[in-house]
């Protein structure tokens, strides 16, 4: 998967740059000096917000993102369904690579005509009522929520912030977690926050994450659902059901569904992850999400 290659390639590229060894043939594509410089730049930018903002700052970025999402969408009033979705979500989150966050995970079903799901940094996970109604089992719901938990776990939201947001004294102080701000500086810091939030919203609502991050979220999400006891095929079943769906929502912000479907099936088969969609779970899913 591309993300895994990138994670392995950056240190390797740095090593190559330091050693003067600049050509390594990987599947017919040689690494050049240009590739090495690019990898280092990408790695540096990725590391900035993704690794240097601490858990508490991540929480406040997540609140700011959630505040924008909740100004655009209404939270579904069906409290029983919200409670059910939260129980499924917390079950997969507890089996994730990052079961604990500063503010904890919160799941919410939003009223929206498009099928979509997205996560804000720190643990806010949103899924639209239209997507929930397109699912046919709890195991599929677990697969979708686990995919979003994987974005939180890997801090993909923070990685979407352009490094340029942190230029200048206040931006640098934020990235370093170096100081608290007086009123004037807090206003400037809020400007940095608003730019960062804009980058994240553009990514999760419009442009979508890159294919490598989506593939990583598929892979880790499938593992989280599997660890929780769910059928690991839940996500691929949903992806298959979306095959041929008109563009919009999940399909536009989660590109390459066909390739992801193939990869997800291969992952389950390769690792011998076996599971079944127990009827008792589908029955309770239908109790909270009636068939259309």
């Amino acid at each position: 998967m591309r993300y895994a290659v990138r994670r392995m390639t950056i240190p390797a590229a740095m090593l190559l740059a330091g050693s003067g060894c600049l050509s390594l043939d990987l599947g017919g594509q040689g690494i050049t000096r240009e590739h090495v410089d690019s990898a280092i730049r990408v790695g540096s930018a990725f590391a900035q917000a993704n690794e240097r903002l601490d858990d508490v700052q991540e929480y406040y970025v997540g609140r700011a993102v959630a505040a924008r999402i909740l100004s655009r969408f209404t939270v579904c009033a069906d409290e029983a369904m919200q409670a059910y979705v939260n129980r499924v979500g917390h079950t997969v989150a507890l089996h994730s690579d990052r079961p604990r966050t500063y503010g904890g995970y919160r799941f919410a079903v939003l009223e929206a005509p498009e099928p979509n799901a997205f996560a804000a940094p720190g643990g806010f996970v949103f899924v639209t009522s239209t997507l929930v109604r397109q699912l046919v089992s709890e195991d599929q719901l677990a697969g979708v929520l686990a995919h979003e938990v994987a974005h939180v776990s890997a801090k993909h939201g923070l990685a979407a912030i352009r490094s340029a947001r942190f230029r200048g004294a206040v931006g640098t102080a934020i990235l370093e977690g170096a100081q608290t701000f007086g009123d004037a500086d807090a206003r400037e810091a809020a400007g940095v926050l608003q730019g960062a939030v804009g980058d994240i919203l553009e990514t999760i609502l419009e442009r979508g994450y890159g294919r490598e991050q989506e593939m990583e979220a598929d892979e880790r999400g499938t593992v989280f659902a599997y660890r929780a006891g769910y059928d690991p095929a839940g996500l691929s079943q949903f992806l298959e059901s979306m095959h041929g769906a008109p563009p919009g929502g999940w399909t536009s912000s989660h590109p390459g569904a066909d390739r992801r479907l193939v990869a997800s099936r291969e992952q389950v088969a390769t690792h011998g992850m076996k599971g079944i969609t127990a009827p008792v779970r589908t029955l309770r899913f239908r109790q909270f999400v009636p068939a259309q």
Partner: protein, 175 residues
């Protein structure tokens, strides 16, 4: 006891060192005990490295704990007062914070202590207040309602019961 550094020298090694000296042996290298801060509110310490293991004690956010060992994403810890058990590593941070009380109480059963926050630098409540004042497209009240909504706060015991009802068993052998 007040600790002033994140890593402290383990005074527990002193008796062993004295015994070795008396026996003509060499002093062992001083062992460093890593001290980390609890990020999460009322975090449970478990008897085994599993969320479904027996509860030893809950500790408030900001508590400093000593790390005795690590195993598959879990840290074996000693909390102030001497109790030992296991916490998931994601509930711990190497950073140090001042702690503050919000004046609110937590939903924690029984104890109802004051809610504790960590006084972050950078993006923090002061910056959020400035954002609230200037942003026209942000609904922080809805975020506050979502966080305070009981249905979104699902504790481990509720997850365990939900899993049993749904015939779900944790698999430890996931890749």
């Amino acid at each position: 006891m007040r600790w002033t550094a994140n890593r402290v020298r383990a005074i527990a090694m002193a008796p062993l060192a004295a015994a070795l000296l008396l026996a003509g042996g060499e002093l062992p290298a001083q062992q460093e005990v890593q001290r980390l801060t609890v990020l999460t509110d009322e975090e449970p310490i478990r008897g085994q490295p599993s969320f479904f293991s027996n509860l030893v004690v809950r500790v408030p956010r900001g508590t400093a704990v000593d790390i005795l060992g690590e195993q598959r994403g879990w840290a074996q810890v000693r909390v102030p007062g001497g109790a030992t058990g296991w916490m998931h590593r994601s509930a711990l941070t190497e950073r140090q914070y001042e702690i503050r009380s919000t004046g609110r109480t937590t939903a924690s059963a029984g104890t109802s202590p004051d809610e504790i926050t960590l006084a972050a630098k950078g993006f923090n409540p002061d910056v959020e207040r400035a954002d609230r004042a200037s942003a026209t497209d942000a609904n922080y009240d809805a975020v506050d309602r979502l966080e305070a909504w009981g249905v979104t706060a699902v504790d481990t015991e509720t997850v365990q019961a939900f899993m049993q009802e749904g015939q779900l068993s944790s698999r430890e052998d996931g890749p």
